[in-house]
């Protein structure tokens, strides 16, 4: 037999059979190549994907750390509440987008159906609060105040409530010990947003969908430390989610506690006294405007002079920080952010700025010394100072004759500083400034820390403003168009000002420098800047960053990370000048000084008090009251917007705070048993290994306890003045 077939295998068929064979084997090669590509070349990628595919992560959120006061009293902690949450993912699967379920839920919870639906809708630019600005895949809390009965009803008839859960959950709480709300300082939390999750994805503290994030105050500054790290247990699951195996478990790290230098008792006193002072002046009539004082806002800072640590910080108006817990209600949100709300979320101690007024004179006195004017030389305190055809008067046009700079502080004499400011302006070249102009007044203001952040450990501190040449120029460039449009020669006051500003608003004029020398004009300062500067005078010249956080302590108390006081500069004057300033400020509370009438009976020999009053004029508003004081231990600064004079509006309140700290009564007798904090708190609170925190009990502040005669009316305000002290206004 032959190998060659006789029929059926024409060359055409033969060739085509070869073609078929080639085609077939190229198909098989393709498969082999693709298999190699998937398994060998890209195998790792798919292995990872496979792992994430069948691994289900169960997250146990870390309990957020507490914020403690200096002695361990919790200002912010957690409590277990029954939280009812709705899963949007489940609700959206229903035909009516879950309306029926939410309505039923509202019935059980005793809420309005609309309120429930508002809470679970997602926030966008058009949606007003309340709405959910967290992840849409995370259960959205409807209420955290469910009763056990409500939770049971939801759980027992779970078929009526698909997508609704009722679980005990740790919920943030702001207990306000001794009525110390500490609102703006503590800040608040809100759910993490998708953007933040993306941003923090590759950092060492990634966010979970269920995370709450600090939005302001200490909650924001120390968010990372407080938040800890959620525990994650990974389970191997099949497609239907049945657990096959537990693969790995990361127990997570509970959030650390942040110990602050705040003393809850002092905080409560500060809050009470600030509020009381504002209430008092609202009952008084402003002699300039003829209306009662508005006292629309106020702030007080109590700081340790030698460290910059903040013992108390209050801002009015304030709010109850618990309003944020579990999603804020529409009413509450409006109340906090509305145009008519007067913005209680603002921490005026670091975010409120106003012209300084006479508390600025320590800067001017220092600037004069730097410019070569000896502190103890005599400068004429005339009743008014004339420049060209303008006359700048001392308040009440009272003169004191030739006095030292120390006495100029004591009497708060304007004309001494007008003259110095004007002379320096002329020496710098006046309207044709020298190239190397000293600008001592402006430079000294900056060196005192004004015009820039103090570095306080709270977010969104504002800088205030030092209206020097550069600022004038840039401000003019930014505004000249609108000024030139609005300005009219010989028009109304505003039009005339605009007209002048349009023409030469970029020039630093004599008028500006004269005003600046007494802290008026365009200068703006914040209470915390002022406190930092006065504390520096008290401690010999160091400008400390105001700090509230004192230590970060692990929940078992074992790891303690102290936050040391940090300085950001020194006062630009020598020790002698600081001593001179100190002496001058001391004389302010002594007979003849502008604050003396507020410190009757003060044990000046035992606890030397230094003070400076300030009454800043704000165009179109009532005057701002400033009061800056310090002892060797503490610096207290208080301000009340549209509150009248420095000593008048803020004086009694500040003294009451000192009385509480040192245990003094209104006649100056010290009772150390009653003293809240005669010396700054040094030791950190003890946190036991089991997590318990030893904290003393707090009794609310009783203002009457400081009165020798309990029947006497609390002193306050400007009203009880029978006759004003010699110079009660600066």
């Amino acid at each position: 037999m032959s190998n060659i077939p006789e029929t059926g295998r024409t060359p055409r068929v033969q060739v085509r059979l070869v073609v078929i064979q080639v085609l077939v084997f190229s198909l098989l090669l393709t498969l082999g190549g693709r298999l190699w590509y998937l398994q060998i070349r890209n195998g790792k990628e798919y292995t990872d994907e496979a792992r994430s595919n069948h691994v289900q992560r169960v997250v146990q959120p870390a309990v957020r750390g507490s914020i403690l006061d200096a002695r361990g009293v919790p200002l912010a902690d957690n409590e277990t509440r029954l939280v009812v949450s709705a899963s949007r993912t489940d609700l959206m699967k229903m035909k009516d987008d879950g309306k029926a379920v939410l309505t039923r839920l509202a019935g059980v919870l005793g809420m309005k159906p609309k309120d429930v639906m508002d809470k679970v809708r997602l926030c966008d630019s058009q949606t007003p609060q309340p709405c959910w600005n967290g992840s849409p895949y995370q259960p959205i809390p409807v209420t955290n105040k469910a009763t056990t009965q409500q939770a049971l009803r939801i759980r027992e008839s779970s078929e009526d409530f698909p997508g609704i859960t009722a679980e005990p959950t740790a919920v943030r709480r702001y207990p306000a010990p001794g009525k110390a709300r500490t609102s703006q300082v503590l800040g608040y939390l809100s759910p993490v947003t998708d953007e933040e999750i993306q941003k923090a994805k590759d950092t060492d503290s990634p966010h979970l969908r269920s995370d709450q994030v600090g939005r302001s105050g200490l909650e924001r500054t120390y968010d990372k430390q407080l938040r800890g790290k959620a525990g994650v247990t990974s389970y191997e699951v099949d497609k239907l989610g049945r657990v096959m195996d537990q693969t790995e478990s990361d127990p997570g790290v509970p959030g650390s506690h942040v110990v602050t230098s705040i003393d809850a008792r002092a905080q409560a006193v500060a809050e009470f006294e600030l509020h009381a002072a504002m209430e008092t002046v609202r009952k008084e009539t402003d002699k300039i405007t003829g209306r009662p004082y508005e006292a629309d806002a106020g702030a007080v800072v109590v700081m340790e002079s030698k460290t910059g640590r903040v013992v108390a910080m209050a801002s009015q108006p304030d709010y109850d920080p618990n309003a944020w817990i579990g999603g804020i209600s529409a009413k509450d949100y409006t109340r906090l952010t509305d145009k008519n709300s007067n913005y209680p979320l603002l921490n005026r101690a670091i975010q409120g700025q106003a012209p300084a007024g006479s508390v600025f004179k320590v800067v001017s006195a220092s600037a004069a010394v730097r410019a070569g004017y000896p502190f103890n030389d005599r400068y004429n305190c005339s009743s008014s100072y004339s420049m060209g055809n303008r006359s700048f008067a001392n308040f009440e046009s009272k003169g004191h004759g030739p006095i030292t700079l120390g006495d100029a502080l004591k009497f708060s004499c304007n004309t001494v500083f007008y003259r110095l400011g004007h002379q320096e302006w002329q020496r710098d070249g006046g309207m044709k400034p020298k190239k190397d102009a000293h600008d001592w007044f402006y430079r000294t203001a900056r060196d005192f820390g004004f015009g820039s952040e103090t570095g306080v450990d709270l977010p969104n501190e504002v800088t205030g403003r030092i209206p020097d040449r550069q600022w004038k120029q840039s401000f003019w460039e930014a505004n000249k168009d609108s000024w030139c449009k609005q300005g009219k020669k010989g028009g109304t006051y505003v039009e005339q000002i605009a007209y002048e500003s349009c023409l030469e608003g970029n020039q630093l004029k004599a008028f500006d420098s004269i005003n600046f020398a007494i802290g008026q004009g365009d200068v703006l300062i914040t209470p915390v800047q002022l406190a930092t500067a006065y504390a520096a005078i008290s401690n010999g010249g160091t400008l400390y960053n105001p700090t509230i956080g004192k230590a970060v302590i692990s929940p078992d108390g074992k790891r303690i990370q102290e936050i040391k006081p940090k300085a950001h500069g020194r006062l630009p004057v020598d020790a002698q000048t600081i001593r001179d300033l100190d002496k001058g400020l001391r004389s302010v509370v002594e007979p003849g000084g502008t604050a003396a009438w507020r410190f009757g009976g003060w044990p000046q020999d035992k606890i030397p008090m230094r003070a400076k009053t300030g009454t800043a004029q704000v165009y179109g508003k009532q005057t701002t009251s400033w009061f800056a004081t310090y002892t060797d231990d503490y610096t207290i600064v208080m301000t009340i917007s549209q509150g009248g004079t420095g000593s008048g509006a803020s004086g009694p309140a500040v003294r009451n705070i000192y009385d509480a700290l040192y245990g003094l009564d209104d006649e100056g007798n010290q009772d150390l048993k009653r003293a809240l904090l005669p010396k700054p708190q040094q030791a950190l609170p003890k946190i036991q290994a089991d997590g318990t925190i030893e904290a003393p009990e707090i009794k609310p502040y009783d203002p009457a306890s400081q009165l020798v005669d309990p029947n006497k009316k609390r002193e306050g305000g400007q009203e009880p003045l029978a006759g004003p002290p010699p110079v009660w206004r600066d």
Partner: protein, 399 residues
Amino acid sequence: MTAPHGFSVSRYAPERGPLAKLTARDSVLRRLDWPILLSSIALSLLGALLVWSATRGRTELNQGDPYYFLLRHLLNTGIGLVLMMGTVWLGHRTLRGAVPVLYGISIVLILAVLTPLGATINGAHAWIVIGGGFSLQPSEFVKITIILIMAVLLAARVDAGDQIHPDHGTVAKALLLAALPMGIVMLMPDLGSVMVMAVIVLGVLLASGASNRWVIGLIAAGITGAVLVAALGVLDEYQINRFAAFANPELDPAGVGYNTNQARIAIGSGGLYGAGLFNGHQTSGQFVPEQQTDFIFSVAGEELGFLGGGLIIVLLGVILWRACRIARETTELYGTIVAAGIIAWFAFQSFENIGMALGIMPVAGLPLPFVSYGGSSMFAVWVAIGLLQSIRVQRPMTA
């Protein structure tokens, strides 16, 4: 002593005992193509393991018996082997006379699918449920009868020596005979099977020596048909979805693209050696749907790795390589055409099945020959192996 196929070589040989007969140089056993047979058995057994791994945890399918599908697959393989032996024993030439009858029966069966006797599985109304857990997919057998009826028609006059190549009339008739069952299967709609049949027709036409114009015309018609089908909306949504998912699996990873994505993850995670049988997370986690049938290759990829997946491709390669040899070496055009049809069928179906698991082909519900679970497919491919063996057994001795 003549064999029932009527082609006897023993006629020239002396009488021998039964054992000697089996082992003799010219015996049927010795003349079988053993590489094809062994590769087919190896693929079937490998398939049994993979089917077992894919189904042992699927209690909703295996009625609580983890060995259910393993045993059924082995049983199907056994029945397939018997069918192959029967085919060899009958011989493809004997069957040649019965082809019109077989063709007729297969047409009746696929028509029956369209009646209430038929059942729908995975969107395709392609099944006849026999009862007792058995069901039949007649389109699998139609693949054989299309090959046979076309081969009979196209080879008749060439093998008789009347023509060198089949004439246009014969080709047209053969195409019509193929188009009839394809049309019916299209109505089910079982698009995957229609695609396989179209490729079979192309292979048959190529091997028959039909004019190039027919071949080119057929390819053009196929492309036009595909475009028309897509444009006229003849396809159901699920079919378009399957195609869309192939083109872009990330389109809808939870829906349409899910199958291919999960299969690809399973295979990709296998690496060189695989996770080991029963150790595939994707498989035991049941992330890949239809894993014992359409996506059986993903089990191999994940649990046996590149080596296991490669082995399947190599074994298929051996079968196709030997089949090509059989097609080339047979003396009759009939045998050549039948072998070429089977090559086209196996090659395309394997490429499509593995290709979709690897994400380079659109999803079509086609089984992987020998490996996928499924009686009808298993029987059909073993009958095809029987035909190949018969063509080889009945070819002239080469040495």
